[in-house]
Assembly symmetry: C2
Homo-oligomer: 208 residues x 2
DNA sequence: TCGTCTAGACCGAACGATCGGTCTAGACAA
DNA sequence: TTGTCTAGACCGATCGTTCGGTCTAGACGA
């Protein structure tokens, strides 16, 4: 339940867990106290700014994680397909294969203006990162930005749907779809030439 | 600010607006009172079950809207492309072209078990509806379910991203992408043969 | 080595405000 | 009059926050 008390850094993990599970409004100081194993007053010792500062600290932690595990890979060197695999693997572990929600989804509701600003900046950076990967793979610029936006959309959307259904399958599907489709000509729709490729007009039209 | 007070039905619109803006935990009875123009006691006259019943009523309203504007179209007769256009248009107006959040995203956090159950049921029905549309267009069964799931993912994800960026463009893009790509062979990635189709391997590999 | 001092991590108790919810009583149409 | 609908005062509980003070570990002088 507690992860290294007595240091502000050690508190961030349980705080992150609580914030992304219950959202900013849904989490109370009592809950944060219970989750971290520290009294409320002790939390204020580490985060004098209160709940808002804890939220920002959790955002900063995620930002740092994104920096090392995602941005640096997307914007780094190496085979684009391998880089894609690497960041998708990182996302899978971060979201526990679809079982957890994303701060970029749950925090802007209730979180203050600074939280929203950071959410916006991170989303922009994520899109830019995927765009860079697409460009490195030789994709056309307009196509690259579209597909980068789609990648973030699929990530966020699949997490929302997985949470709503109580089933992580949609998240897994989208990860797999991104892996196979993000750099291919067909786009993210489905992987190319899987068992039985869909041919338009091969079936009936209209009927109820 | 108020939409037909004095009738439970007339209260649902402002309640829906408040719930999807602030989320279940973020909305307070004082806010609901202000938004509807009714005192708290008056709200309890119409919704004896309190906040939870209001949330369920708002979910039921959305469910009814989905039934008439989406499910009946997706599962009805007529040209699949026209049906697709119709439901996408309905979604655009419901979410005010990307400016509003979706209850299916914001309500399961903090909403009670019954709210979560309804979210799950609606999501399942949405996927089933899109699947039906794809099947009616002659798509293969396995492809139809994948694409139906992707449609819901893109809808939800684009709303999340649009909210995070404070820019409705991603929502508009995904709507347009679904309109052009949902029934086509290439999938939702991008519309087929737009100006300059991406060719894989046409550029450098490796990269920066 | 011992005692004192300091710094900081920690907590119980309580703050005022607001939470979701209830009670009472008046307004008004039938 | 009866029943429906309304507002505002009010309830206990919990909210985020703060205060006063304890405990522990290390520094330092004697």
């Amino acid at each position: 339940m507690d992860g290294e008390r007595s240091t502000r850094e050690g508190l961030l993990a349980p705080l992150l867990e609580a914030f992304r599970t219950y959202g900013f409004d849904g989490v109370s100081l009592s809950r944060l106290s219970k989750e971290t194993g520290l009294g409320k007053a002790s939390l204020y010792h580490h985060f004098p700014g209160g709940k808002g500062e804890m939220a920002m600290a959790v955002m900063a932690l995620s930002s740092a994680w994104l920096e090392t595990e995602v941005f640096s890979v997307l914007e780094g060197a190496g085979d684009p397909a391998a880089r894609l695999d690497q960041v998708l693997e990182a996302f899978q572990s971060f979201y526990q294969r679809g079982g957890k929600s994303c701060l970029l989804d749950v925090m802007p509701i209730g979180g203050g203006p600074d939280v929203r600003a950071m959410v916006k900046a991170l989303m922009q950076r994520l899109i830019a990162g995927f765009e860079r990967l697409a460009l490195d793979a030789g994709m056309e610029p307009t196509e690259a930005v579209s597909r980068a936006e789609l990648a973030l959309v699929c990530l966020q959307g699949s997490l929302v749907v997985s949470r709503g259904l109580g089933d992580a399958a949609p998240f897994r599907h989208q990860i797999e779809s991104l892996r196979k489709g993000f750099l291919s000509a067909e786009g993210n729709g489905r992987a190319p030439r899987e068992s039985g490729h869909f041919r338009p007009g091969s079936g009936r039209r209209g009927g109820s």
